[in-house]
């Protein structure tokens, strides 16, 4: 790992200043489980590391009636999983955290870090960049793409998948992320926090180099049946192959409105509005959940080695719907 200087701010404004003076050569450190690996591999080579863990205002989980849940960016996965209110109203978040599987990551991994972790794409981790282009061609297209995207956008040649465990559930629940930088604070819907880079060097989120995630705000969900379902290769620590998060507003036995977001299938969390439309006005049944799953993967464009992920995504949607409806399969 390349040597770096370590900045230890105790307030958000100090952190922002410590980032701003570097002109982009600094990295933000929270739990460290992703950043330190990237630095050891030379994928990230910051001159300065700005530690956020001494900033009290970024910590904690609180709930305000009518407003909902506030997750400090530094709230750990363990804190989230143990929080009584989260366990009661936000099961999709608990299920996503459980999916990480490693108690060691639960101990130090943070909610903000989950959103800001870098993609797991092995071309990116091997130092080939997020787009992994060589001689004008995508190495992912030509190479081993078994874990890559099955949904694409016309926006650019990115095929990595968004690695966040929480993002699909947060988007389904209508959460916002609050970020603070030199120019002040802004609240962004989690869905708009991520973007597909169009050129190499562009980040996969909208953070400027002097901005940090300070908190995540999730609307009340007492009346929202929500669930996450991950399809995994193994039960121990690993990222899922495909995941789906579902949030259902109910009207008696029938669904009033539905949000469904897929994870690990595209460079950004992938909402499936056409599939969502099949649910309102109907009671959840196994066959309806199956139909919605089929609709969710309709636009899939697999690469040479990952068409198997279409089926996994379809099943993830079906099972997330059934889990949200309390009809676990």
């Amino acid at each position: 790992m390349q040597a770096f200087e370590y900045a230890n701010p105790t307030t958000v404004s100090e952190a922002v200043k410590a980032l701003a003076v570097t002109g982009g050569s600094a990295a933000v450190l929270a739990g460290g489980t992703d950043l330190l690996s990237l630095m050891k591999d030379g994928v990230e080579t910051p001159k300065r590391v700005v530690n956020l863990k001494s900033i009290k205002e970024l910590q904690g989980i609180s709930y305000t009636a009518g407003k909902g849940l506030r997750l400090g960016a530094l709230a750990t996965l363990d804190e989230l999983m143990q929080n009584a209110k989260v366990k009661q109203e936000y099961l999709s978040l608990v299920q996503a955290a459980e999916g990480v599987r490693s108690p060691q990551i639960h101990s130090v991994g943070t909610v903000g870090g989950d959103l800001c972790q870098r993609p797991r794409c092995w071309y990116y981790r091997g130092g080939r960049g997020l787009l992994a282009m060589k001689d004008g061609k995508s190495m992912v297209m030509e190479g081993d793409n078994r874990y890559h995207a099955i949904f694409r956008s016309s926006n650019g040649p990115a095929f990595f998948v968004n690695p966040s465990s929480f993002a699909p559930a947060l988007i389904a629940l209508g959460a916002k992320v609050k970020v603070t930088g030199a120019k002040g604070s802004r609240e962004i819907p989690v869905a708009e926090f991520f973007r597909i880079p169009a050129t190499e060097g562009e980040r996969e989120n909208v953070l400027a180099h002097d901005e940090i995630v300070t908190e995540i705000l999730v609307p009340p969900a007492a009346q929202v049946r929500n669930a996450t379902y991950e399809v995994r290769q193994k039960e121990a620590l690993d990222w899922p192959l495909a995941a789906a998060a579902v949030a259902l507003q109910m009207d008696g036995k029938n669904v009033k409105s539905a949000r469904i977001v897929l994870g690990h299938v595209a460079p950004v969390p992938w909402p499936v509005p056409d599939a969502e439309k099949l649910l309102p006005g109907k009671a959840v049944t196994a066959s309806l959940a199956e139909q919605v799953g089929e609709a969710a993967v309709k636009g899939a464009m697999p690469l040479s080695r990952n068409s198997y992920k279409i089926r996994l995504a379809r099943v993830a949607v079906k099972r997330a719907i059934l889990r949200a409806a309390g009809m676990e399969v």
């Binding site: 739990g31 599987r101 130090v108």
Partner: protein, 208 residues
Amino acid sequence: MAKDKKAAPPGVSRRDFFRGSAVGALSTGLLSSTVAEGAQTAGAQVLGPGPVPVTLQINGKSHRLQLEPRVTLLDALRNHLDLTGSKKVCDRGTCGACTVLMDGKPVYACAVLAIDAQGKRIETIESLGTPEKLHPIQAAFVEHDAQQCGFCTPGFVVASKAFLDRNPRPTRQQIEKGLGGNLCRCGTYAGIRAALLAVKAGKGGGNA
């Protein structure tokens, strides 16, 4: 091998060599321009990149070290304190061989900077039992053949301690989930499960 011998003078171990180079870096680090630049940042304390004082509370003892901010807790334990029970295997926060307890919670020592571990209570495998009187978990690992090559074992034992502290009466399924952060390439999982079920039943083994 011949190259290795040249790199360090006879009688100097690899760890001695690391310690020596850390002290050597002290003088150059203090002169580097990034420090001067950092010092201008209003408010936030900026340290390094050269060695800085780091105090660690390990197994009930306080240790004062001079470490570069980039030194991980694992490297501080192994290369600067000769606590080599925590193993360096993947060094990427994935395999669990370096698991230690930080304020009672399991963490990957390779994924925590030593400088960030200050003020925390660190417990390593060295704090659990002695060769004469094994910790009940260690005794159960022996009794139930829960290791083969043994490289993952210290991490598994520490992770097991953290797990059992929180779940004293686990089911088999909870054990499988609760140790999801550790890998054994020899595949001794069945032995490890049996060992933990034995500890749960109060049968930690010979010395327990």
